[in-house]
C-alpha cells in the first residue's frame, strides 16, 4: 500500500472523529441528570443507554483527532517547510477559529438562552443566578477550543522539534525514540504506555467527573495541564508515527487486538463506575485509580483500533468518503448551535428518545450538508477550510495532468507489466517480465501450460500482487475500481451463479458497469440469444464459454482480457467468436488473448508474445513470428566455406564449428540441395527446427 492510500485512510479517520463529535453533542440533551445551562436543554425522555454510548464515544474521539492531526502536521511541515506550515495553519485553523467564534458564540448563546427560558420560564433570564467570579484567563471558547489547542500544540511541537534538532546532532536521541515507538506499536504496549501519563494527569484533577474524561478546556485561554498533556501526547505520537510511516502497517495488523483491548478497558471503566451516576464526580481511592487507568488505556486502544480499521478497510480512494472527509470540517465547525437548537425544539415533544435522537441527527445533518454543498464547497469558504473549491456542477473529474497526457493518449499502453516477478512459494511464475498492451491492438500471449499466462492476467486484474516490478492498468494500479470498470474479463475455470439464467447473468454483470449493454445486445453480439432463458449449469462446456464471452463484453470494455477463450468450442462457434473479436478490435477495443494455438494468434493478433518457463522468449508481429517459425537449422560435415554459404538466398546465418557447418535458413530444402551440389563428400546431414520453433513445437504438443 502506498502512502497516498494511507493518507486517504487517515482522512477518513479524521472525518470519523469529527462526525462522532457531532453525534456526541446530539446525545447530550438525552443524558439523565444533565443540568440545563451546562448543556442547552435536558430532554423529557432521557436515555441511560445513549448516555453510555456518548461516554464511550467521548472516551477517545478527541485523542483520535489529535493523533491524526499530529501525523498530518509532520506531513505538512516536511512538504511545505516552516513558513509554508504556518501560513497554511493560519488560514485553515486560525481564521476559522476567529471568524467561527465571532459567528458561533452569539448563536450558541441564543440557543442556550432559549433552552433556559424553555426550562425555567422567561423570568429565569431576568434574574440570573449569581455567578462565581471568573478565574484568570476565562474565555468561552465553545467547541472551537480544539482549534485553539491545535495551534498551541503546534507551537509546543515545533519548539520541541527545534530543541531536539539542535541538541541531538548525531540523531542518537531520535533513533532511540523511534525505536521505542516502533517497539511499542509492534505489540500492544503503546496503549498502556500512553494511557498511564493520561491517567496520572486525570487522577490529579481537582474537579473531575466520570463523564468528562479528559476535561474539555473550553472556558479558559490558559492551557489546562490535563488537557494539554493528554492531547499533547496524541499530537506527539501522530508526529512520531509519521517519522516511520510503515508503523501504520503495524497498527493496521493489530486492529483486532486493539479492539479487544479497547472493549476490555471500556468494560473496566464501567466496572469502576458501577453504582455512580455518569455525571457524578470521581471519588478518591481505588475507584479513582482504576477508572483513571482504564480510561487512559481505553482512549488509546480505541484510537489505535480505529486507525487500524481505517488503514485496513478504507485505504482505497472513494468519492463518497472524499466528500464526507471534505465536508466533515465544516460540519463540525457549524454543527453546535444547529444541533442544540433542534434539541431545544424537540425537548418537550412526547416522543421516545430513540425517535428523537435520530431526528435531531437527521435534521441537523440535512441542514449542515445542504449548507456545505451550496455555500461552502463551491465558494471561498471551502477553499479556506479544505484548500480547494469545487464548482457546483462539476464537469467529469479528471485527475491532474490529464490534459498533458491526452495528446499522447493513443501511445499510452492500456496495460503494462514492467520488470514483474511473481513467485508462488518456490515456483517462479513470471521472471522479470515486461509486457505492454497498446490501445486498439490485440496482443496474443502464447505459451505452454504453466508458462505464466494466467498469472500475467491475474496481475493485470489486481487479483495478484507482484513480488517485484510494477503493474499498470489504464496508467494506474489495477486495484482501483474505476479502472476495472473499463475492463472486461473472461477467466478460466470459474463458475458463475450456476442457478441463474443466461439473461439474468448478463443483467447482473452489466449492473457493475456505468454504461453496459443490455442483455439482449450482448447476446446478439455473441450469438447466444437462443440461450437466453437457459440455466447456466445446464449449458454445455462450449456454450458456457460463449456466455462467458458475452459477460466479458457486456460492460463495453476498453480492454478485454480473454484467457483461452476458444478452448472447448467447436469450429463453427470458434469462427463466430473470432469474428466478434475482430469486430471489437475494429471498434477500438484493446484485447489481451492467451492461447495455446499459434493458429489462433495468426488469425487475430497484431502482436504476439511467447512466454515459456516464466520468461518472454519472443515478441513481435505475426509476420515476424511466422518467419521465426519457418527457420531451420542445417548441420553437416562439409568443406564448403561458411562465408560462401552466408551469401546464398534464404540463409540467415552460417557458422563453422570444426568439421561441422551450422546453417540457419528459411528455405532449408533449397539450401540442402545446393550444399549437396557443392560438396559430393558431404556427410552426417541433419535438418532440424531452429530455436524458437522448438518452443512452438512444445506449444503445439501441449495443445494437442
Amino acid at each position: 500500500m502506498n502512502t497516498e492510500n494511507r493518507v486517504h485512510a487517515l482522512d477518513a479517520v479524521r472525518a470519523f472523529a469529527l462526525l462522532l463529535g457531532l453525534a456526541f453533542h446530539a446525545a447530550l440533551s438525552f443524558i439523565p441528570g444533565m443540568p440545563v445551562g451546562v448543556w442547552a436543554i435536558a430532554d423529557n425522555s432521557p436515555s441511560p443507554a445513549l448516555a453510555n454510548a456518548a461516554f464511550v464515544a467521548h472516551l477517545f474521539r478527541m485523542t483520535l483527532f489529535f493523533f491524526i492531526a499530529g501525523y498530518f502536521a509532520r506531513l505538512l511541515f516536511h512538504r511545505r517547510g516552516i513558513g509554508g506550515f504556518w501560513s497554511n495553519r493560519a488560514l485553515r485553523i486560525l481564521v476559522p477559529l476567529i471568524v467561527g467564534w465571532v459567528i458561533l458564540f452569539p448563536s450558541i448563546s441564543a440557543v442556550w438562552i432559549w433552552g433556559i427560558a424553555k426550562t425555567f420560564g422567561p423570568q429565569a433570564l431576568a434574574n440570573p443566578p449569581p455567578r462565581p467570579p471568573a478565574p484568570f484567563g476565562a474565555f468561552p471558547l465553545t467547541h472551537l477550543w480544539f482549534l485553539y489547542y491545535l495551534l498551541l500544540l503546534y507551537v509546543a511541537l515545533l519548539a520541541v522539534r527545534s530543541i531536539v534538532v539542535a541538541a541531538d546532532r548525531n540523531g542518537h536521541v531520535r533513533a532511540a525514540v523511534d525505536k521505542v515507538v516502533r517497539g511499542s506499536l509492534n505489540g500492544y504496549w503503546a496503549a498502556l504506555f500512553l494511557g498511564v501519563p493520561v491517567a496520572l494527569c486525570l487522577y490529579d484533577l481537582k474537579w473531575w467527573s466520570f463523564f468528562q474524561g479528559i476535561p474539555t478546556p473550553d472556558s479558559n485561554l490558559i492551557p489546562q495541564l490535563a488537557s494539554f498533556v493528554g492531547y499533547g501526547i496524541a499530537v506527539m505520537l501522530g508526529w512520531l508515527v509519521h517519522r516511520q510511516p510503515d508503523l501504520l502497517g503495524s497498527i493496521q495488523k493489530r486492529w483486532i487486538g486493539h479492539l479487544v483491548l479497547a472493549a476490555a478497558a471500556t468494560a473496566a471503566c464501567f466496572w469502576a463506575m458501577r453504582g455512580h451516576p455518569l455525571l457524578s464526580l470521581v471519588p478518591q481511592g481505588t475507584t479513582r485509580i482504576t477508572f483513571a487507568l482504564a480510561f487512559g488505556v481505553a482512549s488509546w486502544s480505541w484510537a489505535l483500533a480505529i486507525t487500524g480499521v481505517a488503514v485496513q478497510f478504507f485505504a482505497q480512494e472513494s468519492r463518497v468518503r472524499r466528500y464526507v472527509a471534505d465536508s466533515s470540517y465544516w460540519l463540525y465547525l457549524a454543527h453546535l448551535p444547529i444541533v442544540a437548537a433542534f434539541q431545544v425544539w424537540m425537548a418537550k415533544w412526547p416522543l421516545h428518545w430513540s425517535v428523537k435522537y435520530p431526528l435531531v441527527l437527521l435534521f441537523s445533518l440535512a441542514i449542515l450538508l445542504a449548507s456545505y454543498h451550496l455555500l461552502v464547497r463551491p465558494t471561498f469558504i471551502g477553499k479556506v477550510l479544505n484548500g480547494r473549491k469545487y464548482p457546483l456542477r462539476a464537469p467529469r473529474k479528471t485527475p491532474e495532468g490529464a490534459i498533458a497526457l491526452c495528446a499522447d493518449s493513443t501511445k499510452m499502453p492500456v496495460a503494462e507489466l514492467r520488470g514483474v516477478t511473481k513467485r508462488f512459494g518456490k515456483v517462479v511464475a513470471l521472471d522479470n517480465v515486461d509486457l505492454q498492451v497498446n490501445r486498439g491492438e490485440l496482443l496474443a500471449v502464447l505459451g505452454p501450460n504453466g508458462a505464466g499466462k494466467t498469472t500475467a492476467i491475474g496481475l493485470w486484474l489486481g487479483l495478484l500482487a507482484p513480488d517485484q516490478g510494477t503493474v499498470a492498468l489504464m496508467g494506474g494500479p489495477p486495484s482501483e475500481i474505476e479502472r476495472r470498470r473499463r475492463v472486461g474479463v473472461m477467466m478460466q475455470e470459474v463458475e458463475l451463479g450456476r442457478e441463474l439464467r443466461v439473461r439474468e447473468l448478463l443483467e447482473l454483470m452489466g449492473s457493475y458497469y456505468p454504461n453496459s449493454l443490455t442483455p439482449e445486445q450482448a447476446m446478439e453480439l455473441t450469438r447466444t440469444t437462443a440461450l437466453a432463458s437457459r440455466t447456466y449449469s445446464k449449458l454445455s462446456g462450449g456454450q458456457k464459454r460463449q456466455v462467458q464471452f458475452a459477460l466479458a463484453l457486456c460492460g463495453r470494455p476498453e480492454v478485454l482480457f480473454l484467457d483461452e477463450p476458444t478452448v472447448g468450442l467447436d469450429v463453427q462457434s470458434r469462427e463466430a467468436m473470432w469474428a466478434a473479436i475482430r469486430d471489437l478490435i475494429a471498434r477500438g477495443c484493446s484485447i489481451v488473448l492467451t492461447t495455446h494455438y499459434l493458429e489462433e494468434a495468426e488469425a487475430l493478433a497484431d502482436r504476439v508474445v511467447v512466454l515459456a518457463r516464466s520468461r518472454v522468449i519472443a515478441a513481435g508481429s505475426v509476420d515476424e513470428m511466422r518467419s521465426i517459425v519457418a527457420r531451420r537449422q542445417i548441420v553437416c560435415e562439409t568443406t564448403v566455406d561458411a562465408e560462401v554459404v552466408r551469401g546464398w538466398p534464404g540463409v540467415v546465418d552460417s557458422q563453422r564449428d570444426g568439421h561441422r557447418l551450422r546453417v540457419t535458413a528459411f528455405d532449408a530444402e533449397a539450401v540442402v540441395r545446393r550444399l549437396l551440389d557443392a560438396d559430393h563428400q558431404l556427410k552426417n546431414l541433419e535438418v532440424r527446427q531452429a530455436g524458437l520453433a522448438e518452443a512452438f513445437t512444445e506449444l503445439t504438443k501441449e495443445a494437442a
Partner: protein, 269 residues
C-alpha cells in the same frame, strides 16, 4: 451481427475515470441482492428445508406435543412460537451463507467478483439481505399457520416487532455463517455448519426445558441471546432470563468478532 450497438464507451480516453452515477450504483446493489435471493430460492437443498422445517417442527413439537403444557401456561405457547421463529431466522444466515460462500469460494466465483468492478460489499450485503428475507418469510409462514389453527397469541404490533427483531437478528448469524464459509472448503462446509447449528439450536433451550446443569450454559450460544430478544420484543414477561441490552451487546460482539475474522480471511484469500 448488429452493428448499431456501440461496444466501447464513447467518451473513453486513457485517463478519464469511469464514473458510476449514484442511481446506477444503487441499481447494482439491488440486482446483486435480487439474484442472490433467486439463486438460493432455486437451490432446493437450501430453500426446501429453510422454508419448511421451522413450520413442520412448530406443528409437531410446538403445538401437538406441547398442547397440555401450553394449556397450563399460556405464555409457553408464545415462547415456543418465538423459538421456532428464531430457528427459522438462524437457518438461512448460518447454514445458507456458510455453505454457499464456501462453495462459491471453491468455484472461483469470489475471484471473478474481485476482478470485476462489483461494487464493494455488494456480495456480502446481498447475502445478508437474502438471509433477512428468508427469516421474514419463515416468521410470516409461522404466523399464518398459527393463525389458521387458531393458536396465534400475538397482536399485529407484536408480530411486527418480532419480525423486525428477527430480521435484524439474522446479522450475527450471517457473521458466523460467513466465518464458516470463509474457512471451510465447499465439501466440509455443510458438515461444519451443521455441527455449529444443531448443538446451538438444541442446547440454547428454545424448544424444551433443559436439565439443570445445562441451563447455566445456554448463555454461550448466540441463539439463546437472539431468542431472549425475540421474547422481549413481543413483551412476554416470563421466560426472560437476562436483560435485553446484554443480549444486544453479545450479538453485536459476535457480529464484530466473526464478521471481522471472516473478512480478514476473505481479504487474504
Amino acid at each position: 451481427m448488429n452493428t448499431s450497438v456501440t461496444l466501447t464507451s464513447p467518451t473513453s480516453s486513457p485517463t478519464s475515470i469511469a464514473a458510476m452515477p449514484a442511481s446506477r450504483l444503487v441499481f447494482a446493489y439491488y440486482v446483486e441482492a435480487k439474484y442472490e435471493f433467486l439463486k438460493m430460492l432455486r437451490t432446493p437443498a437450501f430453500s426446501a428445508p429453510v422454508l419448511a422445517l421451522p413450520v413442520v417442527m412448530y406443528l409437531m413439537f410446538g403445538l401437538l406435543m406441547s398442547g397440555g403444557a401450553i394449556a397450563k401456561n399460556p405464555g409457553l405457547g408464545t415462547y415456543l412460537f418465538c423459538g421456532y421463529a428464531v430457528f427459522g431466522a438462524i437457518f438461512p444466515g448460518l447454514l445458507g451463507i456458510g455453505i454457499s460462500v464456501a462453495l462459491e469460494r471453491d468455484a472461483g466465483f469470489l475471484k471473478l467478483k474481485r476482478a470485476l468492478p462489483a461494487p464493494p460489499g455488494a456480495y456480502l450485503l446481498a447475502k445478508m439481505l437474502m438471509a433477512m428475507i428468508f427469516a421474514g418469510i419463515t416468521t410470516a409462514s409461522l404466523v399464518v399457520v398459527a393463525f389458521l389453527l387458531g393458536k396465534l397469541t400475538l397482536s399485529v404490533p407484536q408480530i411486527a416487532a418480532l419480525t423486525g427483531t428477527l430480521m435484524i437478528g439474522t446479522v450475527p448469524m450471517c457473521a458466523i455463517g460467513l466465518f464458516i464459509g470463509a474457512h471451510a472448503t465447499g465439501s466440509a462446509a455443510p458438515a461444519v455448519a451443521n455441527l455449529v447449528f444443531l448443538p446451538m439450536i438444541w442446547l440454547s433451550g428454545l424448544f424444551f426445558p433443559l436439565p439443570g446443569f445445562m441451563q447455566k450454559w445456554v448463555v454461550i450460544w448466540p441463539a439463546f441471546h437472539l431468542d431472549q430478544l425475540a421474547v422481549a420484543s413481543v413483551g412476554l414477561k416470563d421466560f426472560r432470563f437476562i436483560p435485553a441490552l446484554i443480549c444486544i451487546a453479545v450479538l453485536a460482539g459476535v457480529t464484530v468478532l466473526f464478521g471481522g475474522l471472516a473478512l480478514r480471511r476473505l481479504a487474504r484469500a
